[in-house]
């Protein structure tokens, strides 16, 4: 950077000899500062105003018992946090987030890897397939929710389809059965998000040099051995990023659940976010809701930091780049 400035100076000196040197020297520094101010102030204002400030507001309001009207007078200390953390409904919601996260790890990600490995084997119509697999991801979660709500209506499309293929006896009240509704949500979320993982993994696979597999084959490795010992380890960075994104996503699930069940019946499909809106916003307990929002922030934030610190750290810079075609 300093090189650039010296170039400026010499160039100006060469062209215009007459103007005195002093102001010419001082003004670039001033100018630079002015430029930086102009460039950085608006984005910083927007970011601080609408990202950091709300978090500060939540941290502050969370200390009060407040219903959204009038001044904050009823200081409650950490009472809101205590109520939230001991509320069985909130604990249940957190548990649901964790269940969704675990299911994503043990079901979604292995399926994504298997499918990605298969798709990587050169197949006709690959670009179309890629397009189709990724398509649900770009739909609004709200619209996905409405779509599945209609599909899963009792006697609706899903039930009729199952009856048509002879699976009629497995038909359930997909959204009303307390024991099933959470897993229904998981299926819908999987439908929307699994394509994303597959695309990420396929891109990661394309970054692995073919020669490695060929060399292993020459040395007598079977296809499975090559996959296990060479492909999967090299795919590690992509898989670790995918795990990260899956868990962060699972902690924030809202739209689909809110539209399909509202977190019900009887909280059987609630998540932290639906609890937040239900108990904070809907019942005008803004102080309490703020505390819940802070807890949600902390959960996401702590997870992200821990994961970054202990898992992603060993991946070199650019793990993402390689993962993305």
């Amino acid at each position: 950077m300093s090189d650039t400035r010296s170039v400026t100076a010499t160039a100006e000196d060469a062209v215009a000899v007459t103007p005195p040197i002093r102001p010419a020297r001082r003004s670039p520094a001033l100018r630079r500062r002015l430029e930086l101010t102009v460039l950085l102030t608006p984005p910083l204002l927007l970011f601080i105003g609408f990202v950091l400030l709300p978090i500060g507001i939540a941290a502050y309001y969370g200390l009060y018992k407040w219903t959204g009207f009038g001044p904050l007078t009823n200081f409650a200390g950490l009472a809101n946090y205590k109520i939230a953390l001991t509320d069985p409904a909130f604990q249940q919601a957190i548990l649901h987030n964790v269940i969704i996260a675990v299911l994503s790890l043990v079901i979604q990600i292995p399926i994504s890897i298997a499918v990605a490995l298969l798709l990587n084997r050169g197949i006709r119509g690959r670009s179309v397939l890629r397009l189709l697999v990724f398509a649900p991801y770009v739909l609004s979660q709200a619209i996905t929710g409405v779509m599945w709500l209609l599909i899963l209506q009792p006697g609706g499309f899903a039930d009729q389809l199952m009856q048509a293929v002879g699976l009629g006896s497995f038909v359930q009240l997909w959204l009303a059965n307390l024991n099933i509704v959470l897993y229904t949500m998981f299926v819908v979320l999987t439908w929307q998000f699994i394509g994303f993982g597959i695309i990420l993994l396929v891109a990661g696979l394309q970054g692995i040099p073919v020669e490695l597999g060929e060399a292993a084959a020459l040395d007598g490795a079977s296809g499975w051995q090559t996959t296990r010992r060479i492909t999967l380890p090299l795919l590690g960075p992509t898989i670790r990023i995918l795990i990260f994104l899956s868990i962060v996503g699972s902690l924030q699930v809202f739209d689909v659940v809110w539209i399909m069940t509202g977190g019900g019946p009887a909280g059987a499909s609630s998540t932290m976010a639906t609890y937040l809106i239900q108990s904070g916003f809907r019942s005008y307990e803004f102080g309490y809701g703020s505390a819940v929002a802070v807890i949600m922030f902390i959960v996401c934030f702590v997870f992200a930091l821990v994961y970054q610190r202990f898992v992603l750290r060993r991946d070199t810079r650019g793990a993402l780049t390689r993962a993305v075609g």
Binding site: E35, F196, V248, G280, M296, G325
Partner: protein, 297 residues
């Protein structure tokens, strides 16, 4: 903390088509299985979408008796009545206005910040960058309630800006994280040459750097647009009058309001998918690259 930025710093775009050096595989036993799996995936993905689109062409009576197969006869009235009323067009326009404002803001301000953070050296530069990068970890859904309180205070409730501004703010981190390495990678000699030719820093930014960053700018624009287009919770809290509803909000609202008219809800849902899917088909490459940097949900 630095790790956060380190892993996410790499540009999520690489110009050029993917996998152009694809290997040619001999036909093996796995091939039929591969095609079977591919077919299965296509089925699972496409059947629900087809159901929505096709059943929009039925009457409610037809849906109740048989929701599968082709409609007999095809009923056009659901789509026709929606396409001729403001129920569809008004939220479409609202979504578009909000997405355009949010995208314009985030791409404009994001490239300014990325420029300052990539091609100037000054004290506190990495600190500011880290501040933005940490923003990646804050989900807009968790912030929705405090955002509501903030918007209430500054009088932006039930205002399109009340949704567009926070959306832009929450997109800033990923935009800067994608743009900064891209801008940094552009050779300093180009800048020197511009300066020798008498261009100011700002002129260099505007006339030379931004055009060179076009692929990255395309990615962040598409990313910001689609995310804004799809956001549900924030508009749900901010808008009280239906005339401001965005498309996802309008569909969900329509569903609760006309719960009995399944056919029309299906048609509405199908129509509301068209812009997103169309945009996706046109901008697929930018999206696939960009989304990997964004957090799902």
């Amino acid at each position: 903390m630095t790790d956060v930025s380190a892993t996410l710093e790499a540009p999520a775009i690489r110009p050029g088509p993917t996998g152009h050096l694809r290997r040619r595989r001999r036909i093996s036993l796995m091939t039929p299985l591969t095609y079977l799996v591919a077919l299965l995936i296509v089925g699972i993905t496409v059947v629900p979408l087809l159901f929505v689109i096709v059943d929009g062409f039925r009457s409610n009576a037809q849906i109740n008796t048989s929701a599968t197969g082709l409609p007999h006869p095809w009923v056009w009235s659901n789509y026709r009545s929606l396409l001729t009323s403001s129920a569809f067009w008004q939220p479409l326009a609202n979504s578009a206005v909000i997405a355009v404002i949010a995208t314009g803001l985030v791409v404009g301000l994001g490239s300014m910040a990325a420029f300052a953070l990539s091609r100037y050296s000054f004290r506190g530069r990495e600190g500011i960058y880290l501040l933005f990068a940490v923003g990646l970890l804050f989900p807009i859904n968790a912030a929705s309630l405090p955002l509501y309180l903030l918007l209430q205070k500054i009088g932006l409730l039930d205002n399109l800006l009340g949704v567009a501004l926070p959306e832009a703010a929450f997109q800033l981190p990923i935009t800067i994280v994608i743009l900064r390495p891209f801008m940094r990678a552009i050779s300093g000699e180009i800048e020197d040459a511009a300066v020798v030719d008498g261009a100011t820093r700002i002129k260099f930014f505007w006339r030379i750097l931004l055009p060179l960053c076009r692929p990255a700018l395309a990615t962040v624009s598409v990313l910001a647009f689609v995310i804004s287009w799809n956001t549900y919770l924030l508009p749900l809290l901010v808008f009280t009058s239906t005339q401001h509803f965005t498309l996802p909000l309008a569909v969900a609202n329509f569903q609760t309001q006309y719960a009995q008219d399944t056919a029309k809800i299906l048609a509405f849902t199908a129509l509301s998918m068209v812009p997103a899917l169309g945009c996706f088909v046109l901008a697929e490459r930018h999206l696939v690259g960009g989304f990997s940097g964004a957090v799902k949900g």
